[in-house]
């Protein structure tokens, strides 16, 4: 009898022991999962969207032409989303990116046609210079934003709301509200180039994403940007030059917007002041969907890229099953709100349960 009892208690304790071990292993796996929570979730969503439309219309959706179209439409939106994500990392926002991108496109198109009017060959050979001037316009636009935010001290949302109107106004006046035609052949052939089945435009996005990821994660500037967003007071007291950090953030965001503007003219040899007016809100949706915290401090490049792809897949899929762009607008809004609600509910639960474990360990390894 007694033997049996001890036996039982022994087995019970070993069961408890192994249970505990399994528990801790699972907890470890879960916490590791949470570390990449935004990215993993986005990956699941991307695959889900892909699977759904593949299942519904495999022939049309998996057609290489359709996939290429997705890869051609995504880069400009992806670049703008990366730009806004970068400013959100510091707790700000940049509403002027689409206006900057259009200004870059208009600069390139009108410089090219102006030089081409006197000497077509010269305009073509000067194409790299023209493109650089366009990029510089983006950087200057970003610098203006940076000055307003860091030196004057205007809240980013208001500063960039104002500059959005200013840049857009300049673009409207410049073009007289008309669409400009003409772009260097160098750009338009680049826009049509396909390397190993992948459009060159998409490779631009990939390259920009890699560079940005390195800047954010591996450089001192990246660390100060993230700290600035996570805790501006701590950033200041740890001796970080807040104004410099902010200025460089907005210059980078302007450069990314300028790059997007170059893609505008590469895709289509036209430029106008009101191109992509719905992009401002779209890229905010993408950035937030990709796990960027609009209050600053957190966001990943990979998450934003995956969110861009997801929305492009949904947009293209909706097209194929003959749903209008307005159905797509509904889907965009619904996805955004559902993700935010799920995030809020689960993060609330996590916040309530996690402290017990972390209190016991008392060593915060990641923030």
């Amino acid at each position: 009898m007694t033997d049996q009892k001890t036996d039982e208690s022994v087995t019970r304790s070993t069961v408890r022991e192994s249970n505990r071990r399994v528990d801790s292993a699972v907890m470890g796996a879960i916490s590791r999962f949470h570390l990449q929570h935004g990215v993993v979730r986005m990956l699941v969503l991307t695959l889900l969207a892909f699977a759904i439309f593949t299942a519904v219309k495999p022939r049309v959706f998996l057609n290489p032409l359709n996939l290429q179209n997705i890869a051609i439409a995504a880069p400009e939106i992806g670049l703008l989303a990366l730009a806004i994500m970068l400013t959100m990392l510091t707790g700000g926002i940049d509403l002027s990116i689409v206006a900057i991108a259009n200004l870059t496109a208009i600069t390139i198109s009108s410089l090219y046609t102006a030089i081409g009017a006197t000497d077509a060959g010269l305009a073509e050979s000067l194409a790299p210079v023209i493109v650089l001037v366009g990029l510089a316009v983006g950087a200057v636009g970003g610098y203006v934003n940076g000055l307003l935010v860091s030196r004057v001290g205007i809240t980013p949302i208001l500063a960039t709301l104002g500059t959005m109107q200013i840049f857009n106004g300049i673009a409207i006046t410049w073009t007289g509200g008309k669409t400009l035609y003409g772009a260097p052949a160098m750009l338009t052939t680049f826009g049509r180039t396909v390397i190993a089945g992948i459009p060159a435009l998409f490779l631009v996005l990939v390259a920009a994403a890699i560079v940005l990821a390195v800047v954010i994660n591996k450089t001192a500037l990246g660390a100060t940007i993230r700290l600035q967003g996570a805790n501006p007071v701590a950033a200041r007291f740890s001796g970080i030059r807040t104004d410099r950090t902010l200025t460089s953030t907005y210059v980078m965001s302007g450069l990314l917007a300028g790059l997007a503007g170059i893609l505008f003219v590469s895709r289509n040899p036209t430029a106008s002041a009101d191109y992509g007016s719905s992009y401002v809100l779209l890229v905010i949706v993408i950035a937030v969907l990709g796990g960027t915290n609009p209050n600053g401090g957190f966001g990943t490049v990979l998450g934003v890229i995956l969110a861009t792809l997801t929305l492009q897949i949904v947009s293209s899929g909706f097209n194929i099953i003959r749903l209008s762009s307005y159905d797509y607008a509904i889907a965009q809004g619904a996805i955004l709100i559902i993700i935010m609600v799920i995030d809020q509910v689960t993060s609330g639960r996590r916040r309530r349960t996690v402290p017990k474990i972390s209190d016991a360990l008392a060593t915060p390894t990641e923030s």
Binding site: T155, Q165, I166, L281
Partner: protein, 345 residues
């Protein structure tokens, strides 16, 4: 300067720089009159007032949301959704509805859409910009994909009868210019919202949660209830603005108003409301809207291409907010050498 002198000056300036705005308006009007003697006329005045009707009503809803510390970008979608759906419903049911029915139906729709915003924001404590960005897409999408995408010129009686009504007519140089009757509801709404914000517990609550949500909660305000109600009120005001817009343009076009959200927010912020919440007034907002309309009008009269309007409004916004930010910084530096205050006071 004596103490009473400074306080009188401060009173003139207004708690949200209303006095400064009024001064800018007056200076602008005088300058315009010197440049172009046609400017100071009943015709110009009436035109500016008429073009301010819809922006003012829409701005009132935005003002309430901004005072509470939020940002609403869904109000143009709510406005046109409510007005257009009402027109479609009236045509579908074959009722040539009068004013009361038109208003009731559209305001109820506006209230319901506002309830969606308020419910999501209050229940899940989500960022207001993100939620209204999402609902804006949903409202716009449902309206155009499912309610209708067609331009409708035949309006119900309740809208039709006011479309060309004038409040007063003044003879000016051979032909008559008249003031549109719909300035009356716009002014009444301004007075109502002013009363709501300044003289009711709800209004105090809106300012309180805009200043400090946690403090408001501890004092005993039901933050959730105030947030839900304020988004419903903002929805109702947007719907009213939508009805006025359809009445004034004498047609219902589901693409109208969309995309004007940032212009209206700019007007409210110019009117002295703080984007961080807790500050703002109806008078300031009215002046902000008027200032933008006067600038638009004077640019046209000065022969400057209307394309510069956006630039002018943008510059005005950056300068206005920039001056506030710099002065706030200076005064905060004087008080606490180390405090980080970027909020425009």
């Amino acid at each position: 300067m004596s103490a009473t002198g400074t306080s009188r000056l401060a009173a003139l300036r207004g708690s949200n720089n209303e006095g400064v705005l009024a001064l800018i308006l007056v200076v602008l009007v005088i300058a315009m009159t010197i440049v172009n003697s046609d400017f100071l006329s009943a015709g110009t005045l009436f035109a500016i007032l008429r073009s301010s009707i819809v922006p003012t009503v829409l701005a009132l809803g935005v003002l309430i949301v901004i005072i509470s510390g939020g940002i609403d970008v869904s109000f143009p979608a709510i406005a046109i959704f409510s007005a257009y759906t009402t027109v479609v419903l009236m045509r579908g049911s074959g009722i040539d509805a009068g004013v009361v029915l038109v208003l009731v139906v559209s305001l109820v729709i506006g209230a319901l859409l506002g309830l969606v915003n308020g419910g999501l924001i209050a229940r899940f404590k989500l960022p207001t910009l993100i939620v209204t960005l999402g609902t804006q897409g949903i409202f716009k999408g449902i309206l155009i994909a499912y309610v209708g995408s067609r331009y409708i010129a035949e309006l119900p009686l309740g809208m039709r009868m006011f479309s060309t009504q004038s409040l007063l007519t003044v003879p000016a140089g051979g032909e008559n210019t008249s003031l549109h009757v719909l300035v009356v509801p716009a002014i009444v709404l301004c007075l109502l919202v002013n009363f709501l914000l300044r003289n009711t517990m709800f209004g105090r609550g809106v300012y309180a949660i805009g200043n400090d949500t946690e403090a408001a909660r501890r004092v005993g305000f039901s933050v959730m209830r105030i947030q839900v109600i304020l988004y419903v009120v903002a929805g109702v005001l947007a719907a009213f603005g939508g009805v006025l817009h359809v009445t004034l343009t004498r047609s219902a076009n589901p693409q109208d108003l969309l995309g004007t959200e940032l212009d209206t927010i700019a007007a409210v912020v110019l009117g002295g409301a703080s984007i961080f919440g807790g500050r703002g007034s109806v008078l300031g907002t009215m002046l902000g809207v008027l200032l933008i309309q006067v600038i638009n009008n004077s640019l046209i009269l000065m022969g400057i291409p209307s394309a510069w309007q956006r630039t002018a409004v943008g510059l005005l916004l950056v300068i206005g907010v920039g001056v506030q930010a710099i002065s706030a910084r200076r005064s905060s530096r004087r008080v606490f050498a180390h405090r980080e205050v970027v909020a425009p006071a």
